[in-house]
């Protein structure tokens, strides 16, 4: 009944649909993936995704969805149209987050329990390499030229720059406590690393060889919110490199940052314990997963305003949007 009411309201509210896409949301406690139509913002489907699904991504052509089934110790693979399960990929133990290279061939997976990054070939479904990193690897970012994968280790507190040529670590940069996520600008000139417990985002400029230099640090401040709860987790930058959005976890807000001057411009109130973010492919909308309120918030990127929330499964963690 509630669903019907909600969908009617949504149908009435939506006037000019941008395009028909689909958002896939991994529900960490519910062990499912929720599929949300990004035109109507209705829940289309929900299907079993393995045990403790967290990191989620799509193949470059949008035909396949990959999800870290953390408690199954593998990456589960689903057809993006039929939701049928395809053969799984080996991931190493406790995969949490991963990143797929732009060609779609190699998947770089953070193994939280084993201090490793596992490199898996998505075609042959074999492990190509295991790279030892710091304690509790989590965040995974990839330079747009695909030459470097950046892994953040939550207890070692470093960003490790791994060359995709020889799988060797070329640079280690200390950042603040509990780094969660690493994200490059589309032109590859800048890297943002969020630190959950440190409460900061470390900003690095990346030179032509891919070497990082720390150039700044972003801090957050919201009136009426204890500084302890401003915990940066997921992040996304617009492709023109002007705006950085940072999910602030238990502060229930997404920070809007000028990605050039690093000035924090605004805070958008979203659902509870906001975790990961993804843009719709046209960057008209930004979706946030809200783990404690079991919903996603849809943000209008141009207006920098939250426009609605959609109830999904239990403890939504990751999100990926395809056309």
């Amino acid at each position: 009944m509630k669903h019907l009411l909600l969908s009617t309201t949504i149908a009435l509210l939506m006037s000019a649909p941008a395009y028909a896409g689909k958002a896939f949301i991994s529900n960490e406690r519910g062990n499912t993936i929720t599929v949300v139509n990004t035109e109507t913002w209705e829940v289309e489907d929900e299907f079993f995704a393995g045990n403790r699904p967290r990191g989620i991504t799509a193949s470059p052509d949008g035909s396949v969805i990959y999800v870290c089934a953390s408690d199954d110790n593998l990456v589960r693979v689903f057809d993006a149209n039929t939701y049928e399960e395809l053969p799984s990929l080996p991931s190493g133990p406790d995969p949490e987050l991963f990143i797929l290279e732009p060609s779609g061939k190699r998947l770089y997976i953070a193994n939280e329990d084993d201090n490793l990054v596992t490199v898996t070939d998505t075609e042959t479904r074999t492990v190509l390499a295991e790279v030892p990193v710091g304690v509790e690897p989590e965040g995974m970012g990839m330079s747009p030229d695909a030459k470097f994968v950046v892994n953040t280790s939550e207890t070692t507190n470093m960003a490790h720059f791994i060359s995709t040529e020889d799988y060797k670590i070329k640079h280690n940069i200390l950042v603040d406590q509990r780094p969660r996520y690493a994200h490059y600008t589309a032109d590859g000139s800048r890297l943002f690393v969020t630190s959950e417990i440190g409460g900061t985002v470390t900003v690095m400029d990346i030179d032509a060889e891919g070497a990082p230099t720390v150039v700044g640090k972003i801090s957050f401040e919201v009136a009426g919110v204890q500084p302890e709860w401003l915990q940066p987790v997921g992040a996304r930058v617009t492709s023109d490199g002007t705006r950085l959005f940072v999910a602030l976890g238990p502060a229930n807000r997404v920070a809007v940052v000028d990605a050039q001057s690093l000035e924090v411009l605004d805070y958008i109130l979203v659902g509870q314990r906001v975790w990961q973010l993804d843009f719709t492919p046209d960057e008209q909308f930004l979706l946030t997963t809200n783990g404690n309120s079991n919903d996603i918030t849809v943000i209008d990127v141009a207006k920098e305003k939250a426009i609605k929330s959609v109830q999904v499964g239990q403890q939504p963690w990751g999100v990926v949007v395809i056309e």
């Binding site: 406790d94 304690v135 509790e136 207890t155 507190n157 490790h160 200390l174 417990i197 302890e228």
Partner: protein, 395 residues
């Protein structure tokens, strides 16, 4: 003096980030004093042979992995002794050149060991003793506390009870000195947060009622009679550091009321079922390494050695002075699986940290509770605050 240190530290930082870190081999030790004790009420509370040492093993692994990227190695020796052997054990640790020492001991031995270590310029971490005096008038400048104090534990309980509006308390205290001290901390917390003690009784330790094959039969008759006729109260607050009666209180009271403190809902710094704030990862690492669940003293030792690791990683020092100064500086912060950074109080060397409220199975709540505010940090609503502490060794 402090300001100068800060400046020096900042200068050092720039230097460190400019050139690559220097190789450091970090030597630490864990000294555990084992006391003759009676069996606990629950056999789940039997101390494992590697209590605390397991936390050191995990810390060495964690620090060592990070150190691998910086040219730092970590090696921690562990030794368990009787109270009579403690002094000699400390002497041989110091003789071996170790100057970073974690001690698991009661207050009396801890004070002596800390003073003995001070003569050699060593830094000591307290991973066990909860006595308030150690953070107050008998504090030591070379002694940092990763173990929370009785005051922090009592405040954690009081805040939760007050948040629940359970403000009328029936306090039941044990009769041994440590029980009496804990009861006093709980009474002080009641005054601090506005709870009222409407009934206050002492449950005499007569040496009986302890675990036996028929202990519960006696308990079922004794405790209702003992708790009969109390003034109208919301909760029972138990102070039983000795562990001889509080675990029995739930279900054996005259008036059906929740129990908090040493029985029922218990404040703890860590337990093996704690999962929030990424702690699952700590638990799985710990269990894979040790084959058992983590206990508070394991966590306290791990924390102490992680403090050392942070100082080595970020301030490039493993000297006792350097580690101490960095730990007490504004630059220091540590992620400890408690949802927010933990730091040290620079007036008495106590690590400020959230306290978990545990029902023996799950984390029921975490203090500080919402709405208890403080001008510096909500964590300073737990335990001795700057104006209260008579400690002068850190001035």
């Amino acid at each position: 003096m402090h300001r100068v240190h800060g400046l020096l530290l900042a200068a050092l930082f720039i230097f460190v980030s400019a050139c690559s870190a220097l190789a450091i081999d970090v030597k630490a030790a864990v000294l555990r004093v084992d006391y003759p004790t009676l069996l606990p009420i629950s056999r789940y509370d039997l101390p494992p042979a590697d209590l605390g040492f397991a936390g050191a093993a995990l810390a060495d692994e964690d620090n060592g992995t990070t150190g691998g990227f910086l040219g730092h190695t970590y090696e921690t020796a562990t030794v368990a002794v009787t109270p009579e052997e403690a002094e000699a054990a400390m002497a041989s640790i110091l003789e071996a050149g170790t100057r970073l020492i974690v001690v698991q001991a009661r207050a009396a031995e801890l004070q002596q060991l800390a003073d003995q270590a001070a003569e050699a310029g060593a830094l000591v971490f307290n991973a066990r003793a909860a006595d308030i005096a150690l953070r107050d008038d008998v504090c030591r400048g070379n002694l940092l506390h990763t173990a929370p104090s009785h005051a922090m534990m009592a405040d954690a309980v009081a805040q939760f009870a007050v948040w629940k509006k359970w403000t009328d308390w029936f306090v039941i205290a044990g009769s041994n000195p440590s029980d009496i001290a804990l009861a006093e901390a709980l009474r002080k917390s009641a005054r601090k947060f506005g709870a009222r003690i409407v009934e206050d009784r002492s449950f005499e330790d007569t040496g009986g009622s302890r675990r036996t094959d028929s202990g519960h039969v006696l308990v079922q008759r004794q405790l209702p009679a003992f708790t009969q006729g109390a003034a109208e109260h919301d909760v029972v607050i138990a102070a039983d550091e000795t562990d001889y009666f509080a675990r029995y209180l739930s279900y054996h009271l005259w008036d059906p009321r929740p129990v908090l403190g040493s029985g029922g809902l218990v404040p703890t710094t860590f337990h093996g079922a704690h999962e929030a704030y990424g702690a699952t990862q700590y638990q799985t690492r710990f269990e894979a390494l040790t084959g058992r669940y983590a206990q508070p003293e394991d966590y306290n030792v791990w924390l102490a050695l992680r403090v050392v690791g942070e100082a080595v990683t970020r301030a490039n020092t493993a000297e006792p002075e350097g580690v101490r100064d960095y730990a007490l500086s504004d630059a220091f912060e540590l992620a400890a699986f408690k949802g927010q950074r933990v730091t040290f109080r620079d007036w008495n060397g106590q690590l400020r940290q959230p306290i978990l409220l545990y029902d023996g199975r799950i984390t029921v709540s975490v203090s500080p509770q919402e709405g208890f505010l403080h001008q510096t940090s909500p964590l300073d609503t737990l335990g001795l605050d700057r104006p209260e502490s008579r400690c002068t060794s850190f001035d």
